[in-house]
Symmetry: C2
């Protein structure tokens, strides 16, 4: 089985994304950060969070809907804690805010071994794994979570959606050890809402315990779905809950009004949390068999994936494999439908559609 | 249905635990920390990690087996990172080490907003949830993970056990908001190995996708179990992997030799990681409807558990409910089999067995 992809040089992709964001009123720098992030997502095969999705979400919840303010300035709040910063993002573009927050957290980790940046009044940062992956590529352990734009998941044993599908994202600097950063980043629901729509189109049943109907009863009928269920019963519920609790400590308000209509005096903005650790700040320096830290990490991973486990994947491995394909192809890889969507974006913002694109086949 | 429990005053329980640890050569302070931790576990109904289990593990892997050294001194390693400490525990008693590490992380969080303590050459700290619960009761957000004493879990799609069942444990200071700290703490396997033994005794089948046989094939036959499977497929696998990767950065070595025979030059000790956050260090201070931080956390939790979700539980709620029972009973609650086990411990260390215990019924 093979799926056909088209090769789009990253510069051409990034130029279009920049133009699209600037057309919507974003500053040159914001547009550049949005393009950089879409490039990263596309490079790693994150098709659910590429530029098409980013611009679509901006239209639904962002600049066109008052959820995101082009040109907004981040305000750093006073804090008596040296390794911590608290920001009011003033609904600035999520990607620009998140990149800046990771940079600041890295700066704090360089000095204190660990640093955190909490962000109130944020707007959707798309793919959390991207930020921790970049930090990991720069040599740091990174973590982020954020509150959901929409409450789509019921608590374990619950009936009504009050939680998000949002992941926790961890990145580890394992490039020296195994060739790519380990990135752990997955939805806290069994499946994403996008999958439900896919099942509707295909007329197939959902897996068991993935969704509930309007009465809060589990259903496998994609047309009866009202909300999603957390993965791993109370365990995924606990993880999903953490995002909302962390958000509540930062300044986020009720999940059921987020990105929706909110009463006077209420808040409907998401919150972000970022944390970076310098790997030397947790190194005991006494590794077995004379290994250094990176060699030790490699030895542990080799042990985990040895003994008959050689076919197991590491989190982040598929993304790294996609990046290899992109490198080999000499450009980002998009499906025909995606190229079409990009060309619609080009028309929207008065940019030049992609007229000539090499064909590239990727085995599925 | 009701289960019969016996009321044991905490002081009497703690005295016996102290005597048992001192009988094994631990210092007065170590024995006191062990008693304090067993008291906390029993107070919250953590029957899998009470003093009986603690002393049993000490016998199997600890002071009787060279895994733990009574009277060991922790060495604080040099670090250029102000908010981070790295310790060599020299195989000191896990509970004493972990309590000290949490205290230090709190001290760092008071100053820097966030603090971390990484511990190499550690010994089993038992119930991670206990340490973060105590920190949460003191007003802090706390997190810990550790590497497993034994590799019992296969990676997702794997055949051979190279990972532990060890949890990640998060505690949140929500006592003002909802009456108890939220504590998220569960095994990264579908079930614990103790449950497999229970299924063997009862002659019942395991749930699907909970365990594999000697060929690495999924099995529901408790007698055919060779290893456990992670919960939530690749998601629980990712979480379980984090413990080993963090341990590898600190100084832990191969999971498959941990607590077992290790070749010359290898290490077989677990590693601990602790992190504490001061809640003010992540507060944006701009909560909706004039709420303060704690009121905001309460409002968010009320929203999550509203709208028809009123019967859902919060992580930590069952533990808090057990502590209420203990308070009402005026003593810790142990089953007849547990009291018998404690009296065997008393005989072992020459202490006075419990001669008179009030009966207390707890509805199951």
């Amino acid at each position: 089985m093979s799926e056909k992809f088209y090769i789009v040089p990253a510069e051409r992709h990034n130029q279009l994304v920049r133009e699209a964001y600037q057309h919507r009123g974003y500053s040159e720098d914001e547009a550049a950060q949005a393009a950089r992030f879409s490039d990263l997502a596309a490079e790693h095969g994150i098709r659910t969070h590429n530029a098409i999705k980013a611009l679509h979400l901006d239209h639904l919840f962002g600049s066109a809907a008052g959820g995101c303010t082009p040109g907004a300035e981040i305000v750093v709040k006073d804090s008596r804690f040296a390794a911590s910063q608290i920001w009011d993002a003033n609904k600035k573009l999520g990607q620009a805010t998140a990149y800046a927050a990771v940079d600041k957290a890295i700066e704090l980790a360089d000095q204190y071994g660990i640093g955190q940046v909490s962000v109130d009044n944020a707007f959707h940062y798309l793919w959390g794994g991207g930020y921790v992956m970049e930090a990991a590529k720069r040599g740091y352990i990174a973590y982020t979570n954020c509150t959901a734009a929409l409450a789509e998941v019921v608590p374990f044993m619950g009936k009504f959606p009050t939680l998000g599908t949002n992941p926790h994202s961890w990145g580890f600097p394992t490039t020296d050890a195994i060739g790519f950063p380990i990135v752990i980043d997955w939805a806290t629901s069994v499946i994403a809402m996008g999958r439900v729509q896919q099942f509707q189109r295909e007329g197939t049943q959902l897996p068991l315990n993935a969704a509930v109907d309007k009465d809060g009863q589990p259903t496998t009928d994609p047309n009866a779905v009202n909300a999603l269920m957390p993965f791993g019963a109370h365990k995924g519920y606990g993880l999903s809950l953490i995002n909302e609790i962390v958000g509540a400590f930062i300044g986020g308000s009720l999940p059921t009004i987020r990105s929706r209509q909110a009463p006077e005096g209420e808040k409907r903005t998401p919150a972000f949390y970022f944390q970076v650790i310098h790997p030397e700040a947790m190194s005991g320096g006494a590794f077995a068999m004379g290994r250094n830290q990176s060699e030790n990490v490699k030895a542990v991973i080799d042990d985990i994936l040895g003994h008959g486990n050689e076919n197991c994947l590491l989190p982040g491995q598929l993304e790294a494999k996609w990046a290899d394909r992109v490198k080999k192809a000499g450009g980002l890889l998009f499906s025909e439908a995606e190229v079409k969507a990009f060309n619609e974006i080009a028309v929207e913002c008065g940019a030049t559609p992609w007229d000539y694109i090499n064909e590239f086949k990727v085995e599925a």
